[in-house]
Symmetry: none
Subunit: 420 residues, 2 copies
């Protein structure tokens, strides 16, 4: 099996200003195609140090993947360092230069002279296009080994890794083991509860393995199998998945690359229902979670960000008496906000949030972290869930969004689909 090393490049990492998330992403992608990673190295924006690290990596591994240092500025030195490491000059790639010129023309901005360095590559390199930024990547072969260079920003690196780097490595090195990973996504269950439900499987299973990855309010359960072929590994996962589902059953909202808001979107589409939101403490984050999903216009009408009490009344029709009597952060107001959003947007279902996100504004009776999440359903019924979690403002807002999504997902999961 081919071995790889990863070299991440950037002085910010060595100054502690940036946490390196690229290594984990690259390592995971290599793992899935059966490539072993034995070492990762970070070096600063220094041409000699980068070149030395590349040479050292080539002495130990067939594949060296560099991340970072492909930008247009004087401290972007990866191109020159790799050229030096393999002893070739830098040359201009005309298609990349034309791509750069077209990009700046579309932005209607003059292209600064220093941007041109992004169309220079070590002689003999094959270029990886970058639709998400101005820095193309590349691969160059040297004495039967390969050096790949990818841009540092994750939004550029991740797609280039999946679309270009990994397919290139698979084609060139013909991996002899295949790994298949399947992620079961759960909502509404804490990590330790989940752990208790599958602890024995977790310990006994060596292949496939089971791992848990907790996000705020959501936990992913990852099954990974190794076999000679992808089909063989997939069959092993197919066998284990029902066993895990039997334990976790009703809290799995999806498999693989799906979001909870996206799954709700599919539910709404198949039930032919439309959606609105009325947000106070989440300030638009809940709406943004729905609008992050392509095609949300099929079911999402919109919503009201009723942050001030006055806006709760004027936009959502919440009676000032209700606010006076129960307070803006209350079960009654959350219910009225959900019903108000449903009516104002003419939607079938609506979600609402109102809470004390802090750090100020908490009282003994209504502490920071107290949040009410409301849900209005067709026919005028309404439900409210009370959350009371301490945490930072950001954490309280994010958990409120997840709680609202989880509430709606569960409700829709038990409804029969609309007739075609």
């Amino acid at each position: 099996m081919a071995r790889a090393e990863i070299i991440t490049i950037g002085t910010e990492m060595l100054l502690g200003q940036l946490v390196d998330t690229n290594t984990a992403e690259i390592a995971r992608a290599l793992f899935e195609i059966g490539v072993d990673v034995h070492r990762e190295t970070s070096v600063g924006d220094n041409e000699v140090r980068i070149a030395v690290a590349v040479r050292e990596g080539l002495a130990r591994a067939e594949i060296v993947i560099c991340a970072g240092g492909l930008g247009p500025t004087v401290d972007d030195m990866t191109r020159g360092a790799i050229a030096a490491a393999v002893g070739v000059p830098l040359t201009v790639d005309e298609p990349s230069m034309r791509h750069l010129e077209a990009l700046f023309a579309r932005l209607d901005r003059p292209m600064a002279e220093n941007n041109r360095v992004q169309a220079h590559f070590p002689q003999g390199a094959a270029v990886f296009e970058n639709p998400h930024g101005s820095a193309p990547g590349f691969v160059i072969e040297h004495e039967g080994r390969a050096i790949l260079a990818l841009p540092g920003p994750p939004r550029e690196l991740f797609p280039m890794l999946r679309d270009h780097a990994i397919p290139w490595i698979e084609g060139r090195f013909e991996p002899d083991a295949a790994f298949v990973t399947r992620v079961l996504r759960t909502a509404g269950v804490g990590e330790s509860d989940l752990d208790a439900r599958i602890a024995d499987l977790f310990r006994e299973q060596k292949n496939p393995t089971i791992a848990m990855l907790a996000h705020p309010g959501l936990v992913d359960v990852k099954l990974t199998a190794k076999a000679e072929t992808r089909a063989g590994a997939a069959a092993m996962i197919d066998e284990l998945e029902p066993v895990v589902r039997a334990r976790l059953g009703d809290c799995i909202y999806g498999v693989g690359d799906v979001s909870l808001a996206g799954v709700i979107g599919d539910q709404l589409r198949s039930l032919a229902l439309t959606l609105a939101v009325g947000e106070s403490c989440t300030g638009g984050q809940l709406g943004a979670a729905f609008v992050a999903v392509p095609g949300a216009s099929d079911y999402f009408h919109g919503g009201c960000i009723a942050y001030a009490d006055q806006a709760k009344t004027s936009l959502l029709g919440v009676s000032p008496d209700l606010i006076e009597r129960f307070g803006a952060v209350s079960e009654a107001v959350a219910a009225a906000m959900a019903l108000g959003a449903q009516a104002a947007l003419g939607a079938d279902v609506a979600l609402s949030t109102t809470g004390v996100a802090g750090p100020g504004g908490g009282t003994a009776e209504k502490p920071v972290g107290l949040v009410f999440v409301g849900m209005a359903l067709p026919g005028g019924s309404v439900r409210v869930r009370r959350l009371d979690w301490p945490g930072s403002r950001d954490a309280i807002q994010r958990r409120a969004v997840i709680a609202a999504l989880t509430m709606l997902w569960r409700e829709l999961a038990i409804r029969p689909a609309a007739r075609g």
Copy 2:
């Protein structure tokens, strides 16, 4: 000045199952006491590979800090690897053994035999106590250089780093320098434009140094000075900052730990103005950016997420004729949405967004990435900015939010403050 290397140990990192946050924490702590980090290496749980990495680090740096591999299990190999790297045996440290026994007695759990390895250290090592777990750390000197070993879990590593490792290094290597960093935050200028404005300073300045860190739509310019004392370093920054400001001047929105939405909040508060939003393609993200700032209720009334055309009309009073004639993604509709949000929320100023976030829905005339950002000002005047950037749905939405924030920040920056 002493140089250091960091070695993080753990197969999970090389499988991509864990993002390494320890390196950034260690690097930041070393930076603050004037120790340079030139390289970071990650290796798996393999005694030989750890020992080789330690020897390589010792050849380049006076200080090698290892993180991870101090637990009680068979794959915790850092103790043995460091002993092998410096050619000494492992010996028992009696106080550590008693500490371990006391820990398990307190937990009321029998101590498994393998836990005893946590009281073994390379001969000659000084032990760092671990009040947060069972794995003590240690430091061992070898030929005038030092190897420190810290536990991998951040909740154990971070306190041991601050309380033991850093003080030990300061005492042993008597750092001869202090560093001060100041970050100037800019909006509305691309990384390459900014680079062109300060490229000469960037190249000439060795101390303080100037570095740039690009986020989508925003670029940070970081000044770092080194001197014998913190006061001396701060004075050097004070001298350089006006020179950089003269070049970048009008695009600096803040210094240090501030957000653009937070700075706008301060502007609104001092101008005694209130704010509303009317969002289509950003779906609530713009409102959420404002509500992320503590105390936003002082000026932020709320907004409308007018995703469906119908909602643009019912919530924001955009005339159906306007939508029919110019399309929902148009300068006219962005202007009407901003005015509508201003009126519906009774706010002094309002921002709006409408665009094609993709990936579907683009046409030749209105491609994916076309966004109009509107701003309504007191007195009924309104401005619209047209953006046309390619990118993912997520990137287009985030850039639209930044563009709206930048537009308002600039407008408010030129207004005189409200009379007290």
